[in-house]
Symmetry: C2
Subunit: 346 residues, 2 copies
């Protein structure tokens, strides 16, 4: 075996030498590990919602056909990457072997969730998915997966159900980046506006903001039902019902809540929130875009058109320690935990 | 007259009360100004390249037809916003009247360039564009334009031709944001990689990096011709020829130039540079995306897939004082000036 790449380039079979694993057509899922890798025995695959929807639509909900296609994708590509949506998902499993040069901090027997996408994770399935009826994103499976030298996996905590822990880990980048950004305002009682404050990433962002010392925390929600979720929780100091796509309407709705904030966090997955978010931000402040519906040019040109001196961050889903931090926020805040548990049973 | 909005909402005629001027169909270009506005007598319109190309293609280069359509757009919409491309351009003119509450720092008689897009600037043309033959983006014109309370205009310097000054101002956001970012590393001799280092925004970014104390400055260019432009200029300490879309190739090419940098600046207008830029950046470093070809999701998911702890900035074209700063860089650096003057005569 030749040397391994921390990004898994050594497992790219097609096209060789050009691609990172996510862009590759075929990965090598052999169970033997390179010295910096980790092998995981799979317990459950959680398919990405967009991927499962595409498969279900294509096969008009026929579970056997969906299962057959998932098996075919994994056998053909060496990873579970939907060829239409390009997306993957995540998995739960148990650490089976840790290479001597691995720096992920895992030990054999740890029960973990992988936080890098299945779309770049070498994967082999050995049970024909016999325990899965093809109905739903949660796929019980036997087989193994490989983590590269530079990867992300989090130990599943003992005190939370795997479903609850996964739901928190899925959005854990947001609160970590919010906390990091607010720490640059240490001692200045910064203010925060969260567009989509009642959602998963939004409510954790509000909890992170409170923990980081933001004394004015404004949650923008779309209707009274969402507002009711936050009432009395203490997560937000102000709850505002407004359309996050309407720049003038949003700016006006924020006036009674104290106006523009030092930090605006965009957690709503709809298009057209760029200029509204910029207008919701004070001069010299920061916008973090966590929505995948964000349009890069609309943000860049939108700020220029408003002569707005704001720092705009692409919401990187990875911040060191993000999963542990988000789980701590959930444990330390009964209201956040209740919000998440309510969503689990929706 | 009722109160004015610093963003020009009071001049939106259609749709009233919902849109900012850029998104509006029709603006009110009346010459009477609100107390925070400025009126400019137009000298030249510089149509956006994409807009002119669309008009020229549509009318197969017929100058009379192109001119007629520009006149029709301005008469109908109260601004020069191409209805197909959505883009505008900028203008040169002379300040005719300054409202008592204007904070733009302009005086009657100042010769200025507007740095906000024509797509949001109230505009009226009074000479039928009789001095323009419809061939080319530069449109001599008589008439007036309005700047809102919050807008951007820069005085044209006496010591540079308007063409040279405009070319610098067109990309002035990049060096200003590079300098601001590097100042957070004060005293630490930060390193910089500029993808597209021989271009306009790239070369000014390198000059800004040198001024801000970056001791290792790597210019990535696509071929030997571009490398030759930088040879011997002192702008870059290393010039690397590589394809900025190839993550592994770029990372490998950077090794002899010192490897990943504290700051990576993306100035190449091609798609697929997100993961290469992330890999070119050291852990804890920053990427600034100035390319309008940047894909938001590719950046966000790309960093997560690489477990890369990097701060990613949307390149805001506006930083206070950006035009004056870029012109100072040009004046203070004969090599940058020569690069720009070479481009003027291309």
């Amino acid at each position: 075996m030749s040397g391994s790449s921390p990004f898994g380039v050594h497992r790219v079979l097609e096209p060789v030498g050009e691609s990172l694993p996510q862009a590759a057509r075929v990965l090598d899922p052999r169970p033997e590990i390179w010295p910096d890798e980790v092998r995981i025995d799979i317990e459950t695959l959680n398919l990405d919602a967009a991927s499962y929807r595409q498969l279900s639509d294509k096969h008009t909900g026929d579970g056997d056909a969906i299962r057959a296609e998932v098996l075919d994708i994994v056998a053909t590509r060496g990873k579970m990457q939907n060829p239409v949506t390009g997306s993957g998902g995540m998995l739960i499993g148990t650490v089976a072997e840790v290479g001597p040069q691995s720096t992920l901090g895992l030990e054999v027997g740890d029960r973990v969730a992988t936080l890098v996408s299945l779309s770049l994770t070498p994967l082999a399935i050995t049970d024909g998915l016999e325990r899965w009826d093809g109905a739903g994103e949660r796929v019980p499976a036997r087989g193994h997966a490989i983590l590269f030298g530079r990867s992300i996996a989090a130990k599943l905590p003992d005190d939370l159900t795997p479903e609850l822990a996964l739901m928190v880990m899925d959005v854990c980048g947001a609160p970590a980046l919010v906390a990091r950004t607010l720490r640059t305002y240490a001692g200045e009682s910064p203010s925060v506006v969260v567009l989509g404050g009642a959602g998963k990433s939004g409510s954790l962002s509000l909890a992170a903001a409170a923990e980081a010392g933001a004394t004015r925390r404004v949650a923008v929600v779309r209707d009274a039902a969402e507002a009711a979720l936050l009432e009395g929780t203490g997560l937000a100091t102000h709850v505002v019902i407004a359309d996050a796509r309407n720049p003038l309407g949003l700016a006006e709705a924020l006036v009674p809540a104290g106006g523009p904030a030092d930090l605006t966090v965009v957690c709503v997955d709809v298009t057209g929130c760029e200029q509204p978010a910029i207008l919701a931000t004070a001069e010299g402040g920061t916008v973090i875009f966590f929505s995948m519906a964000t349009n890069f040019a609309a943000a860049a040109l939108g700020a220029e058109g408003l002569a707005a001196d704001v720092t705009m961050l692409v919401g990187n889903g990875y911040v060191p320690g993000h999963a542990a931090y988000a789980l701590e926020l959930l444990r330390g805040n009964a209201e956040v935990r209740r919000l998440f548990e309510t969503r689990l049973h929706e």
